[in-house]
Amino acid sequence: MKIVVTVKQVPDPNSVTVLESDNTLSRDKEVVLDPGDECGIEEGLQLKEAHGGEVILVSMGPERAKDAIRKGLSMGADRGVLISDPQLAGADALLTARALAAAIKPESPDIVICGTESYDGSTGMVPPMLAELLGVPQLTVAKKVEVDGSTIKIHRQTSDGYQVVEGAIPVLITVTAGIAEPRYASLKGIMAARSKEIKQIGLGDLGIERGEPAETIEGLTQAETRKAGSIIQDDGTAVDRIIQVLAEAKVI
């Protein structure tokens, strides 16, 4: 079974973000493999362990996104593809999906695994676009995946439980963080990753041109914030204060 996992390098969620003068988020800071995509890699590796095959990591980003791919390779993925091109800076969801689709198509994977949404404020629009461009169905927000021959079955998280969704390979799935605890790379894995292939390609190799961006930022305003109220220490009277507020709000 051929499995492609899309992986994105994102600003470290545990560090502070800086806004540049042109309103783009500063990339000059710690970056990590998206924690959601780490779960995707883990799921891919588990499927490979159960059914055989190959796990290929595909990323679009600046050259240093190789580090994110390398991390996945040290977890056990087989090889990587990095789409890197100055023209892709600030790419929107559609351009990202077009570039990923062009790189993934020649691989003819059985399963493409994406994160449900990326960590740096993006909103999960790349996967459905990618599924459409690859011409495969999308089985989304999976918290469990089972493959049986050419049939794939997922538990799709919903607001009040889940749906069992079935499809036939080839498919694209998106996975939630709850699906699998990502493994740590072993020392052996880290050593092995050094000699694994990461193929780097540009927009020209993919025959894609950058189109018009979907949106233009016209301005930034300060978000409306709620005013802080009072902050009190729990010195024994806190419960009374809460009761008072609840009573004023007429809930008791």
Binding site: L19, L94, E215, I217, L220, I242, K250
Partner: protein, 319 residues
Amino acid sequence: MAKIWVYAELHQGKLQPTALELMAKARELGDVEAVALGSGAKAAAATLGKHGAKTVHVNEDKAFDDFIAEPATDALAALHKAQAPDLILFGFTSDSRDVAGRLAARLGVGLISNAGDVVAKNGGFEAKVPYFGGAKVASMRANNKPAIILVRPKSFEASETGGTAEVKELAATIGAESRRAHIVERVTEASEKVKLEDAKVVISGGRGMGGPDNFPLLEALAGALGGAVGASRAVVDAGWVPYAMQVGQTGKSVRPGVYIAVGISGAMQHTVGMKASKIIIAINKDAEAPIMKMADLGVVGDALKIVPALTAAVKAKKG
């Protein structure tokens, strides 16, 4: 007049509240048509008419209920070809995201998601999107026709205007090639006594609750107050509680009379789902936690001690 479409999401025959919220905004932006697909579409059309839809395009094929995204994408793409709307509004929900993304890629246009508001400007549309960790709001001009914008639930208040929509049957052929991601079973897990979205009081727990074994403390408080229990994503991802309880950007949006955040730091992705609450009370052992800066009352202390004491006090007060 600009031609606005509202994608009216249905779940097993039930019109979703986001559809009516979008209607309220769409009416300000131009002539509104709604698209309702799947069982219950005709009944939904009557409601959509009362909320200002001039026309509702319906198709009750069960394929729309049973297969993810592709049948709806086919129908919308076909209708788009005939009608060329200026703007298509979707709710920012899992199901609508699946359809909107696929449709955008098929039409070759981009989209704007996670919007909190939409305004008409210079003959086009601008979406207001949280930016830079939610500290700022970006005004984003949509460059495409159609503009496709996904709006977070509860961003607008639904209201009836009275009216009757013309119901038009949407001709769509759903071929086998679009019946691929098949929903074969639906499982309800949450047996909420009070629905989170409708509760007057919501008590949400985060990582500061220490572990799943402490969540019954919140349930006891919710029981005493007649409220519902919510949670942060950190504890949902950790498997302490089901996703149905998650509040925030990728969970539910709530606006209760009182929201009590217990052991929750107040990350932007959490607060977008609860900051419209009337009164916010935070219990956190860290006085510097971001949630404290937006709470009407912030209590610095140990949740595991305060919550049981509070439950006892509420019960005593109620007698």
